[in-house]
């Protein structure tokens, strides 16, 4: 049985070209880029090239790119840099639907003398802009808002927000881990000060990320050590992964059109195929402002983990917003923030596609999933057969 991989917002396969780019860095060009001899320069050159490639996809300058170990490190670096640069300011503005990299950082800071404001979202996952503007203060050290939500794919109007924030002289950071490579981002045309990205979300390797830091932004390193990355991140460079990330960025730029045409069509066909065949199912999140590859669908009256494990038996990989980890049965904080009712929030499944997916795979899921939902519903005390009233209406 082949695996059908529809969980690309969790991680992606490394593109074959990326692997080709990485291998020589482990075998041939293994010199330490900080060494003085010519042999090491070859590794340094590859890093230089990767930096340029990353700068190209963002339309930024290569010296504005700092390589890190992952998206989380990029996020933490950005937040620390901003609060250290503005020690007198004690307020942070973010959203209720951030990835745990920002969410947990916010919680940590709120226990350590900072006031953190979380901007709410509406039932479609769109930000409450009035609330956002009302809560910017002179004490705000940094605004951190994700470009696209990992669970629903809903995108936020980052350019507009960054412009307003900039006018107030506040640092603006965006966690763009899900957005880079899927939608166009042009740093020369926006006012974002710092932007986080991660290699493994765009067919690069795991364990590498980058932080874009706009020239002139006050910065202090998170990892203090050697003079690597112009003193902005100590530690010997992960040369193979950096080279892989550079290649992945170059490929993503090439594939962005396909992502927004063919992949979008696949996603739409999966979504309508399932919604049409499965009663009491609904798409979570705004379908207009959304990444082209993501759909989050709730199947009422059943629970997410059960759906995932039954799909796993059929070789289908996806994610659920309801992990039922520990006794805590609270569904995803994103769906709860959107006010999705419990009947639906517990049974939500996220499908996230990539350029490596095909229509055959989509058709397979459309064929195999409805009986799974039916089986689980037959077991559910809340499902009363076809007469069941759907609690959610699209």
């Amino acid at each position: 049985m082949n695996t059908i991989y529809f969980d690309n917002n969790a991680t992606t396969c490394a593109a074959p070209e990326v692997v080709d780019e990485m291998l020589p860095m482990l075998t041939e060009f293994y010199g330490n880029p900080s060494s003085m001899y010519k042999f090491a320069k070859k590794a340094g050159d590859r890093i230089h090239e990767a930096r340029q490639r990353l700068a190209d996809i963002l339309n930024a300058m290569p010296e504005e790119i700092v390589f890190t170990s992952c998206g989380t490190e990029s996020d933490s670096t950005a937040i620390w840099a901003a609060i250290r640069a503005n020690p007198e300011k004690r307020h942070i503005l973010t959203t209720r639907v951030e990835h745990s990299a920002i969410k947990n950082m916010g919680e940590y800071l709120s226990h350590n003398g900072y006031k953190v404001t979380y901007v709410p979202v509406d039932s479609r996952g769109n930000l409450d802009l009035d609330y956002f503007y009302d809560h910017l203060t002179n004490d705000t050290a940094i605004v951190s808002i994700m470009w696209a939500n990992n669970e629903t794919g809903v995108t936020f109007p980052i350019e507009e927000l960054a412009q307003k924030v900039k006018q107030r002289g506040i640092v603006f950071h965006t966690d763009a881990v899900q957005a880079v490579g899927k939608i166009p981002i042009d740093m020369s045309k926006n006012n974002v000060d710092m932007l986080s990205l991660s290699g493994h979300k765009l067919h690069g390797p795991k364990g590498v990320g980058a932080l874009y830091v706009r020239k002139g932004t006050k910065f202090s390193p998170f990892l203090i050590g050697g003079h690597q990355e112009s003193g902005r991140r100590g530690g010997t460079e992960n040369t193979a992964s950096i080279a892989g990330l550079g290649k992945a960025a170059q490929l993503a730029a090439v594939h962005m059109e396909e992502e927004n045409t063919r992949v979008r069509k696949l996603r739409d066909s999966l979504e309508t195929g399932l919604i049409d065949r499965i009663p009491c199912s609904i798409i979570n999140g705004d379908t207009k402002n959304r990444l082209p590859n993501t759909t989050n669908i709730s199947f009422e009256y059943i629970e997410g983990e059960s759906i995932l494990l039954m799909m796993d038996e059929l070789g289908i990989c996806a994610s659920s917003g309801s992990a039922c980890t520990s006794g805590s049965l609270e569904p995803s904080h994103v769906l709860r923030a959107m006010g999705v009712p419990f009947t639906a929030a517990h049974g939500s499944v996220r499908f996230s596609l990539s350029i490596y997916n095909t229509q055959e795979e989509v058709d397979y899921v459309i064929e195999k999933l409805p009986p799974v939902i039916e089986r689980l519903r037959a077991m559910s005390p809340f499902w009363k057969g076809p007469e069941t009233e759907c609690e959610i209406k699209s």
Partner: protein
């Protein structure tokens, strides 16, 4: 990905006895949609009170479904009084173990069974004794104490894993921790780290404490004290008046001045005298 035993997987993928027994003798329903899991258990008895048919409906994760299925298998063919003895540990053992985060699924089985039997006997399900600690899941202090004792639990997280208390809004965590401390015979743990003081705040607080707590006492004996300098956690002071010539000056400094400053400013302060 949860590590499930083969038996859990088998019972999840091929659950036994799904459905509702018609004209059931006993019905037990526990959980709710907002809780994230729920179970409805129905059974039928013959004239000898032997369980001849039992069925379940479960809303929940793989272990909730597997636990329910296992429970029905264990019940069938048993007399009511035999079935009554089935505990959540028996369900877990039958399944070859459950991840610790999923133990509450087996507890849900035991609770549904208790309710179904009470329903058959026509006895009202006993009002829970004790005070409700976790509003989200209706768990009382007595239940928590029982879980602590039976499973030798020592953390809020473990309590949540076993009986769900604390798995919702989290408001009850403090009370659960108190019960754990009582169980372990400890004083409540106060997990409040002292706020880190800036130098200015620290000096201000030292001055205030000197004025309010220390000087009046010294003055009564004709003495006084003056703050000279602060260097990190070291406080340099000068004793004045009667205190400066007092033979017990060192004791006054350490036992009175330092203790008061540690109490009101920061516990790591050391007071030294300068002449």
């Amino acid at each position: 990905m949860w590590e499930y035993s083969d038996k859990v997987k088998e019972h999840f993928l091929n659950p036994r006895n799904v459905g509702v027994v018609e004209n059931a003798d006993g019905i037990g329903e526990v959980g709710s949609m907002s809780c994230g899991d729920a179970l409805k258990l129905t059974f039928k008895l013959d004239e000898n009170e032997i369980i001849t048919d039992v069925k379940f409906q479960t809303f929940g994760c793989a272990s909730a479904i597997a636990s329910s299925s296992a429970l029905t298998e264990m019940m069938i063919g048993k007399t009511l009084s035999e079935a009554e003895k089935i505990t959540n540990d028996d369900i877990v053992a039958f399944l070859g173990g459950l991840p610790k985060e999923k133990m509450h699924c087996s507890v849900m089985g035991q609770e549904a069974l208790e309710k179904a039997i009470a329903c058959y006997r026509g006895v009202p399900v006993e009002e829970k004794e004790g005070e409700i600690v976790c509003e989200c899941f209706g768990v009382t202090d007595l239940e928590i104490q029982r879980a602590l004792k039976e499973h030798n639990l020592s953390a809020v997280e473990d309590v949540t894993n076993y009986i769900k208390a604390g798995g919702g809004c989290g408001k009850c965590h403090e009370r659960i921790q108190e019960l754990i401390n009582e169980f372990k015979g400890h004083e409540p743990v106060i997990d409040k780290k002292p706020e880190k003081l800036s130098n200015i705040k620290k000096i201000k607080l030292i001055e205030e404490t000197l004025e309010r707590e220390i000087k009046p006492a010294l003055k009564k004996d004709g003495g006084d004290i003056e703050l000279v300098d602060v260097d990190g956690s070291k406080i340099f002071v000068k004793l004045q008046g009667a205190c400066s010539s007092c033979s017990a000056a060192q004791i006054t400094l350490k036992e009175f001045v330092e203790k008061k400053l540690c109490e009101f400013v920061s516990p790591d302060l050391v007071v030294e005298e300068v002449s």
